[in-house]
């Protein structure tokens, strides 16, 4: 085993949870497993009892009459009621939070996650909060893996990161998940996040990290012969640290001739303002 560069001691059992919504998922998984074990053990004891008590032996005869106990009926009704509770009480609310309660755009960090065989590209919109438009024919794996249109003003302060996704602690993050080639799946086990990255479709997920540190992104959908090396990292930082990181990050498409381009930018902003 190499040196542990991660901030978690991993063992057997549920992984540590570092997200706000994850505790409810863990609770559901735990309740389910207690329920399963209780059901299986009590049912197994009954099975074993039958197997021993009704074994064939000299002097023992089978009875034509079947058992008449009402117990199985009650047990089944119990199972149905418990399943109803699992659905309505636990799973529905968790899923609606996971899918419907999108954080306020003002307060959240918005990123795009574009999967490709076999890497994760994280697209940050920069200070303006707007993503530059992307076009497939502009993709260049070395200089522009996302195919961002660098002539568009929204792209000027955009930047991207390959493999590592920096996010601030305690701030909601909305990630729009998509893919350039085949289906991948964006999973951060420690944050209890999983979402297929479907080419041609964009699906948002959101989470709020509760601790700082470095954790894994795992591709959770078979994507080819390099599937197992399609890993990534989430670096969770204190908000100030994250701001600093973002400010220092190079903006590849920032126009060099400041005067004319800035003028363009201003005009764009003005026209936008006028049209809205």
């Amino acid at each position: 085993m190499g040196e542990n560069k991660f901030d978690i001691a991993y063992g057997v059992g549920l992984l540590p949870n570092w997200s706000e919504h994850g505790a409810a998922i863990d609770q559901l998984i735990k309740i389910l497993h207690i329920f399963m074990i209780v059901l299986f053990v009590s049912w197994g004891i009954f099975l074993l009892y039958c197997l021993i008590k009704f074994r064939s032996r000299p002097g023992h005869k089978a009875s034509y009459q079947s058992a008449t106990s009402k117990l199985p009926k009650y047990a089944e009704i119990g199972v149905v009621l418990f399943e109803t509770f699992l659905l309505v009480g636990l799973s529905f609310p968790i899923w609606s939070r996971y899918r419907l309660q999108k954080p306020d755009a003002e307060k959240a960090l918005h990123v795009r996650v574009v999967a490709q065989a076999f890497q994760w590209n994280i697209h940050y919109p920069g200070e303006d909060g707007k993503f530059g438009p992307t076009r497939p024919e502009l993709v260049n794996n070395a200089f522009n893996p996302l195919g961002i249109d660098k002539t568009h003003p929204d792209s000027y302060d955009d930047f991207w990161s390959v493999g590592t996704m920096n996010v601030p602690k305690g701030v909601p993050v909305v990630a729009d998940i998509t893919s350039k080639d085949v289906i991948h799946s964006f999973a951060i086990p420690v944050l209890r996040v999983k979402q297929d990255a479907n080419p041609g479709l964009v699906t948002p997920v959101w989470f709020t990290a509760t601790k700082t540190g470095k954790i894994s992104i795992v591709c959770s959908q078979l994507c080819g012969n390099g599937h197992s090396r399609m890993f990534g990292r989430v670096q969770i930082q204190e908000p100030e640290e994250f701001k600093k990181w973002m400010a220092e990050k190079k903006r590849p498409f920032k126009p060099k001739e400041k005067k004319s381009e800035n003028a363009n930018l201003d005009i764009d902003k003005v026209t936008e303002g006028a049209s809205s």
Partner: protein, 590 residues
């Protein structure tokens, strides 16, 4: 009855007509059985190779590795080869192994006998079904020898765009699949018509053995669920060969070049079509198995089934509901709340008939006189194994817990408990139980028990640790960890998986031991043809019609057409001399 005529006075059939291109449902059933068992073993071998890579990643495989110069250069498995093994293991086990064994072999062999018919309704169509299946299977199998790209490697689910971009093997897979589906359709129509039309006098629907009911429901599932997959398969084939893009969206970028396709397709559409088959397919696997062990349990407890009608209604309801749960495999595609709520509710509802069936079987034991012969041992082991499989489906069927567990080894553990120690154990039980009818001799009980205990123990060391690995979020379909990059150990790449890597070794060793115990079965199976203990026509003292035939049953089955007087499970009837009262023997008036 022309077939009966054939069997008594007809001309002698040549060897090829009698044993190769036969139209006798029993010969076809046995052909299905032997072919399916062979494919099962082959699929198992593929998995044993994969388990080497998982237990000892990137270490050369001794001896065996040299057999695969392309897939394992210098004994080291490539990622492509691992994916081929994975995709083909799943496909072979399900479509070439378990379903043909449950429906093709036992459905064919037993349904006409249990309804008292001389043969299937359409004997030639029955033969066509087998030969189509064999052709499809061989097409798939042959793809391993393709010079370019080898066999299909996009998982048994074959999701596009990956499968559309994959090598030639995928085309073979799709052609093979279309053949298999055609075969299933021919078979299922045949079984349905046989059950509806060819029941002997007195055999009303509610006097049928539950196994016949199970095959009846299964056939409807095959008939109604497979066509969407056939459509999906053909559409995917068009995407690959004819340049269409049913499943390809616009703007796909491979490497740095934009793919030259029309686009406008949807990748999730295929998944809906696929799972619309593949969930009912789960019940196609299980229902015949449950039918078979119901017969075995009733026979060996020497008492009537508890809740005969209940279990029939449960099976029908299960079959119906199985069409309404498919999207619970797809929660992570980005499903909204309405869809996910619907499919979670249906998934919880479908657990009810499953619980009812298990309850019926276990309460049947109450008050019985249980004989622990080999088939009964396998049948009884099915109950707790299937229960584990069913229970572990709960956290996967709830979308919230599925967020964490989806695509982990928990899923693999779950469905293998359903299919391997569940369904396959039931099928083993059935082989041991009906072997004397087909051969005239019993398989060795001693070696049968060795096979049973060896398999039961080792198989739990295979699949239970997978549940633990899944809880610790070990992802499935990972063939190794990279030797270059950020680090060279699992601890660096997937640190959360490192603590459970040792379980991979445990699982792999258990899998190889499990394989060794199957050799016991194979030897027992073949040697008993010659050396097994000779038996009479009804060695288990059972009640259903197949035991009323000579052993082995001749072409045409019954010497005289039987008439049915009573239900299928009349054991230990008070006031009767024997503790079993066959269906075709008229009760003496009191």
């Amino acid at each position: 009855m022309s077939h009966e005529h054939d069997s008594h006075h007809g001309h002698e059939l040549s060897f090829i007509q009698k044993y190769v291109f036969s139209v006798d449902h029993k010969v076809i059933g046995i052909q299905y059985g032997i072919t399916a068992l062979t494919f099962l073993f082959f699929g198992f071998v593929l998995m044993m190779l994969m388990r080497w890579q998982l237990a000892y990643p990137d270490q050369p495989m001794p001896i065996v590795g040299s057999l695969f110069p392309n897939g394992m250069p210098n004994g080291l498995m490539t990622g492509d080869f691992y994916n081929e093994l994975g995709a083909m293991h799943g496909t072979i086990m399900i479509f070439l192994g378990v379903v043909p064994l449950g429906v093709g072999a036992f459905g064919n062999y037993l349904v006409p006998l249990q309804v008292g018919a001389p043969d299937m309704a359409f004997p030639k169509m029955n033969a066509a079904s087998y030969w189509t299946y064999l052709t499809g299977g061989l097409i798939m199998f042959s793809s391993f020898f393709l010079a370019e790209g080898g066999a299909a490697q996009s998982g048994w689910t074959s999701y596009p765009p990956l499968s559309v971009m994959a090598g030639q093997g995928q085309t073979f897979w799709l052609f093979g699949m279309v053949m298999l589906i055609t075969s299933s359709l021919l078979g299922s129509v045949n079984i349905i018509v046989t059950i509806v039309q060819l029941r002997v006098p007195g055999l009303s629907f509610f006097k049928l053995p539950f196994h016949v009911w199970a095959q009846f429901v299964t056939s409807f599932l095959l008939l109604l669920a497979f066509p969407p997959l056939e459509a999906a398969g053909v559409l995917q084939l068009m995407d690959r060969l004819a340049g269409t893009s049913f499943f390809l969206p616009s703007g796909l970028v491979m490497g740095e070049s934009v793919m030259d396709v029309a686009g406008g397709g949807n990748v999730v559409l295929y998944q809906h079509l696929f799972w619309f088959l593949a969930h009912p397919e789960v019940y196609v696997l299980i229902l015949p198995a449950i039918g078979l062990i119901t017969e075995i349990i009733a026979t060996n407890t020497r008492k009537p089934l508890y809740g005969y009608k209940t279990i029939i209604y449960a099976a029908i309801f299960l079959g119906f509901m199985s069409f309404l749960v498919w999207a619970h495999h797809m929660f992570m595609t980005g499903m909204g709340t309405v869809m996910s709520d619907f499919f979670q509710v249906t998934t919880m509802i479908i657990s009810v008939p499953s619980v009812v069936i298990l309850t019926v079987l276990i309460i049947t034991l109450w008050g019985g006189s249980i004989r622990y012969n080999v088939p009964m041992c396998f049948a009884l082991a099915f109950l707790p194994m299937f229960a584990i499989g069913g229970l572990t489906g709960l956290p996967l069927g709830l979308s919230a817990s599925d967020i964490y567990l989806h695509d982990t080894y928990y899923v693999i553990g779950h469905f293998h408990y359903v299919v391997a120690p569940g369904t396959l154990f039931a099928l083993f039980a059935a082989v041991y139980h009906w072997y004397p009818k087909a051969v005239g001799r019993k398989m060795s009980s001693f070696w049968g028990k060795v096979h049973f205990w060896g398999s039961l123990i080792s198989i739990n060391f295979v699949f239970f640790p997978m549940l633990l690995q899944g809880i610790t979020h070990l992802n499935r379909r990972m063939y190794n960890y990279p030797l270059t990059g950020e680090g060279t150990t699992l601890w660096d790449i997937y640190p959360h998986s490192a603590s459970i890597q040792y379980l991979n070794e445990v699982i792999s060793i258990a899998a190889w031991v499990l394989g060794a115990f199957q050799l016991v079965f194979i030897f027992n199976f073949f040697l008993s043809i010659k050396f097994g203990k000779k038996v009479n026509d009804n060695p288990w003292e059972a009640t259903t019609l197949e035991w009323a035939t000579p052993t082995p049953p001749p072409h045409g089955n019954f010497l005289t057409e039987p008439t049915v007087y009573r239900g299928p499970y009349e054991y230990s009837v008070p006031g009767e001399k024997e503790d079993f009262s066959p269906q075709h023997i008229e009760p003496k008036p009191a």
